[in-house]
C-alpha cells in the first residue's frame, strides 16, 4: 500500500505517450473489426439466400412443380402479375383494408385506452371483458362479422379492427396506468391540476408504450387482412393467394407470398422507425443506464 503511490506516478508518466498512440491503433483496429463483422454477416445472409434458392431448385427437380415451383418460374409469374396489373390491384385492395382497419383500431384503441388508464375505476370494471375479448382468437368472430357486416370491404375492416384493437388498447392503458409516479408527484408538487397532469405528464410518459402497441397492431392488421381475404369474399393479396392455391399454381402462389413478406417487413420497419423517432429519449435513456 505504502510503496504503490511512489511507483505509480513514474510508471504512469512513462506509459502516457505510447498509450495515446496505441489508443489510435486500438480505434482503427476496432473499426476494422466492425467492418469485417458487418461484411461477414452480410456474406452469411447472401449465402443463406442462395441456399434457399438452391433448395427450391432441388425440391423442384425431385418433386415437380406442385411440391415446389422453381425460382425461375416464380420470377416469371411475378413479372407477369406485376405487368398485367393483377398484383397492383390486389395490393391496392389489401392496403385499403389494412390501412382502414389499422386507423380504426388505432384511433378507437388509443382513445379508449387513455380513458381506461386515466379512470382507474373504469379500467377495473372493464378489465375482465377486455381480457376475455383479447384472449379469444380473432378468427372466432368471423362468422358473426359475416352475418352482421357481409363479405366485403367493410366486413374485412371490422375483422382487422377486431384483431388489432386490443393490443393497442392494452398497451395504451398499461402505459398510462404505469406512468412514472415520481414525475406525477413532481408535477403535483408544483401545483399541476388533474387535466394538466394527465395530458402533459401521464400521456407523454405513456407514448413509447402506445407506440409499441401500434407496432403490434399494424403487424396484426396485415395478418387479419389476409385471413379476412381468404375466408370472406376473396380479394386482394389473400384472394390471389387462395385462387392460386386452389388451382395448384404454386409459382403464382409464391409470387404473392413474396409480396406479403415485403409488405409486412416494410410496415414493421416503418413503425419501428416512427417509434424510435417519437420515443427517442426513452431509447437513449435505456441505452445510457
Amino acid at each position: 500500500m505504502s510503496i504503490q503511490p511512489a511507483v505509480e506516478p513514474s510508471t504512469r508518466q512513462g506509459q502516457l505517450p505510447p498509450a495515446r498512440i496505441s489508443g489510435n491503433i486500438v480505434a482503427r483496429r476496432a473499426q476494422k473489426r466492425r467492418a469485417l463483422e458487418g461484411s461477414a454477416i452480410f456474406g452469411a445472409q447472401v449465402l443463406i439466400g442462395f441456399g434457399l434458392l438452391a433448395g427450391m431448385y432441388a425440391l423442384n427437380a425431385i418433386g415437380g412443380n406442385l411440391l415446389m415451383p422453381s425460382p425461375t418460374s416464380v420470377a416469371r409469374q411475378s413479372f407477369i402479375m406485376w405487368t398485367d396489373g393483377t398484383m397492383l390491384a390486389g395490393l391496392g385492395q389489401s392496403l385499403t383494408v389494412i390501412v382502414l382497419g389499422f386507423l380504426l383500431s388505432a384511433s378507437t384503441g388509443i382513445v379508449l385506452g387513455v380513458l381506461l388508464g386515466g379512470f382507474r375505476v373504469l379500467g377495473r370494471i372493464l378489465d375482465p371483458f377486455v381480457n376475455a375479448m383479447n384472449s379469444t382468437p380473432g378468427a372466432a368472430f368471423i362468422p358473426l362479422i359475416i352475418v352482421w357486416f357481409g363479405l366485403y370491404t367493410e366486413a374485412k375492416v371490422v375483422v382487422v379492427w377486431n384483431a388489432a384493437f386490443f393490443p393497442i388498447l392494452i398497451n395504451t392503458t398499461a402505459g398510462i396506468a404505469n406512468a412514472n409516479k415520481e414525475l406525477v408527484e413532481m408535477a403535483q408538487a408544483f401545483g399541476a391540476k388533474r387535466s394538466t397532469l394527465f395530458w402533459r405528464v401521464m400521456v407523454p410518459d405513456a407514448l413509447p408504450s402506445i407506440l409499441s402497441g401500434l407496432r403490434i397492431g399494424a403487424a396484426i392488421s396485415t395478418v387479419g387482412t389476409v385471413i379476412a381475404e381468404l375466408t370472406m369474399a376473396q380479394s386482394g393479396l389473400g384472394g390471389l393467394l387462395a385462387a392460386a392455391g386452389n388451382r395448384f399454381q404454386m409459382d403464382r402462389y409464391f409470387a404473392v407470398v413474396i409480396v406479403l413478406m415485403a409488405l409486412g417487413t416494410a410496415i414493421t420497419a416503418l413503425l419501428r422507425y416512427a417509434e424510435r423517432r417519437l420515443g427517442r429519449w426513452r431509447v437513449s435513456q435505456a441505452n445510457g443506464r
Binding site: M186, Q188, A189, W281, S284
Partner: protein, 275 residues
C-alpha cells in the same frame, strides 16, 4: 411582534399515520420556520423526513395537529417548490422545456416563458444546455436543472428532499456552495432534508433533529457561523466540530435506544446499518 418574524411555516403537534393507522410515521411534531431561514431536518432513516416535507408541501394531509404555510393550510403551488433526490425531469422535454412547464403552471404567458427559462438556466450555469434533453446531462447537471426549475416559480419556501444524496462528493460540494449563493441572493426560506449531519450543519441556520419510529422532534439547535458561508467555510471552525459531535452523540443515543427496543421486539434487521 414584528411582522417579518411571523413564521412562514408553522407546525403544531402534527401527526401522520399510514396503512390505515397501522404505521405511525410522525407524532407530535412542532417547529416554526421564519421567512428567509435555512432549516435542515436531520435524522436516521425511518424518521419521516420526506413525509414531513410532503405534508408541508400539501401533497398529503396531516392526520393530527395543524400545519400553516404562509398563514394558511398548505396547497401545492408556486409559493412552494420542491427539489427531489433525483432530478425528476420529464425526459421528453428539453431542459428549457422542463422549466417552461412549471412557468406555465405558475401562469406565465407563453411569450415570456422561454426567456425566463433561459435566464434561470444561466443562474445555475447551464445556459448552453437549454436545448439538450435531460438524458444528455450528467447527474449533477440534471440536479442543477431541478434546482433551476424550483427557483423558476420564485417560491417563498424551497423544499429540498436530500437533493445532493445521489451525487458524487465533488459535485455535491460544488452544488452546496451554489445553493448557499442562490439562497443568499434570493432570500427564500429553505427546508432541507438530509441524513448527512455535516451537510446540515454546513448549510443551515437551524437543525431539527428527528428520532425514528415514530418520527418525533428530538432536538432543535441553532447553528451560528459567520455568513456568507460559501466564503468562510465553517468546517474548519472548532464550533463546527463541536456541533457535529453533539449531533452525532444524539444519533448514537437514538441508535442505542432503538437497539434496546429492537431487542425487545426480537428484530435485529437494520441495526448494523443504523450504527
Amino acid at each position: 411582534m414584528d411582522a417579518s418574524l411571523q413564521p412562514i411555516i408553522s407546525l403544531r403537534n402534527v401527526g401522520k399515520s399510514f396503512k390505515d393507522g397501522q404505521v405511525r410515521a410522525l407524532e407530535n411534531i412542532s417547529f416554526d420556520v421564519r421567512p428567509g431561514e435555512f432549516v435542515s431536518l436531520v435524522g436516521p432513516s425511518g424518521c419521516g423526513k420526506t413525509t414531513l416535507l410532503r405534508l408541508i408541501n400539501g401533497l398529503i394531509p396531516a392526520d393530527e395537529g395543524e400545519i400553516l404555510v404562509l398563514g394558511a393550510a398548505p396547497v401545492p403551488g408556486p409559493d412552494l417548490a420542491m427539489v427531489f433526490q433525483s432530478a425528476r425531469l420529464m425526459p421528453w422535454l428539453s431542459v428549457a422545456g422542463n422549466i417552461e412547464f412549471v412557468l406555465r403552471l405558475k401562469g406565465l404567458g407563453a411569450s415570456e416563458r422561454p426567456k425566463r427559462a433561459r435566464a434561470l438556466l444561466g443562474a445555475v450555469g447551464l445556459r448552453d444546455f437549454a436545448d439538450a434533453f435531460p438524458h444528455e446531462l450528467s447527474g449533477g447537471m440534471q440536479q442543477r436543472v431541478g434546482l433551476a426549475r424550483a427557483l423558476a416559480v420564485e417560491p417563498k419556501v424551497l423544499l429540498m428532499d436530500e437533493p445532493f444524496a445521489a451525487l458524487d462528493a465533488m459535485t455535491r460540494e460544488v452544488l452546496r456552495k451554489e445553493l448557499l449563493q442562490l439562497w443568499a441572493r434570493r432570500g427564500m426560506a429553505v427546508v432541507f432534508v438530509t441524513h448527512d449531519i455535516d451537510e446540515a450543519v454546513l448549510l443551515s441556520q437551524r437543525v431539527v433533529m428527528l428520532r425514528p419510529r415514530p418520527g418525533r422532534v428530538d432536538d432543535i439547535v441553532d447553528v451560528e457561523f459567520p455568513e456568507p458561508r460559501w466564503q468562510n467555510d465553517p468546517r474548519t471552525l472548532p464550533a463546527f466540530k463541536q456541533m457535529r459531535e453533539y449531533l452525532w452523540g444524539r444519533i448514537h443515543d437514538m441508535v442505542r435506544d432503538g437497539a434496546e427496543l429492537e431487542e425487545l421486539a426480537g428484530a435485529f434487521g437494520d441495526l448494523d446499518r443504523a450504527s
